[in-house]
Symmetry: C2
Subunit: 174 residues, 2 copies
DNA sequence: TTGCGATAGTTGAAACCTGAACTATCGTCG
DNA sequence: CGACGATAGTTCAGGTTTCAACTATCGCAA
């Protein structure tokens, strides 16, 4: 077994999985560990971002949303485009935008070419907020990721994408 | 840029991140991609497990919970032990166990040595259900993970743990 | 041009999760 | 003993997310 820097927050989980494996013959322990690790990291990232943006009255999802709008400030984005980019359902995006628009951080405009669509634009106020937040967030992210070398990051990206591709493929045929 | 098997479900997200980077100097694009990949995979795993166990009246969390109880069928588990193993808050675990107990899938007993504690045990009915479900689930998991070689899995595990450890460490000092 | 299937966005109901306060019990230190 | 801080579990209020149904609009083919 590879030995690594302690990671107490996951150790508890891993040992539980170990107990499962000990009693249940045939359990694909390593795969289960991988899936749980991914879930664990995802949750911790979210929580961490959430804590950071909370003082500004945002949560992780609305921050992610605002970042996308910030990057597309000139053109604006369509709601469904935004929901795909932020990785949220369309229904949820509607509510998030309701909220953000109530706070004056974004603006809805009716589409011109296609009147079903809605164009979302960040407001001056919203842009100011995100512009103020982003450097802090990026710095934090850098601190967390600095543990991995450039090569390790590339490896990790490659492996995760391979996994994502496999799952996509499986879902397609199913 | 590395070229990989298509992964349409993430490609949309990645191209959005690309647009962010194009307009926002200094954005740590690769790190953001990694974080989003992790979140994306986590969500897809959950959704997939969820769809599989739904016909049995469970969701992803309650299945995970039952699996832990199944593995500790002889001894039972304490509620907090269970919530750590399943990676859920204590409050949420209470609710989940209420639900599962209402369905007759687990049983609560008062602790003897320490009367604050509650011992949770899987019932015969619960064990039957999980015993029936597990092989299917493991098979599915195997299909999804088969895309990675044994070595790749080890690498991935190592990298994810390194990341988790770094985040743990950072959180500690903060 | 009109009708029809597809798409964009919203809504209401229900499922789900969390933080903070609360109760009961424990261990231990004086 | 008995007070007190810590721990186990629950509850409640409030927030978030989803699913399915709905409206409006579009593109296109007959």
């Amino acid at each position: 077994m590879t030995h690594l820097p302690a990671c107490p927050s996951f150790a508890v989980i891993e040992s539980s999985i170990g107990r499962v494996a000990a009693r249940l013959r045939g359990a694909p322990t390593r795969d289960i560990v991988l899936v749980r690790l991914i879930k664990h990291l995802s949750a911790r990232f979210s929580a961490h971002v959430g804590r950071m943006v909370r003082p500004s009255g945002l949560n992780e999802v609305s921050f992610r949303t605002m970042m996308m709008l910030f990057a597309n400030a000139e053109t604006g984005m369509h709601a469904s485009q935004l929901s795909e980019a932020a990785g949220e359902t369309r229904a949820n995006m509607t509510r998030i935008c309701d909220e953000l628009s109530r706070k004056g951080l974004l603006r809805r405009r009716a589409g011109i070419a296609d009147r079903r669509r809605v164009v979302l634009e960040i407001t001056r106020k919203g842009a100011a907020l995100i512009g103020r937040l982003l450097p802090k967030m990026w710095n934090e992210l850098d601190l967390g990721m600095r543990a991995l070398s450039a090569k390790e990051k590339l490896d990790l990206e490659r492996l995760l994408k391979k996994l994502a591709a496999a799952i996509d493929a499986k879902e397609q045929t199913a």
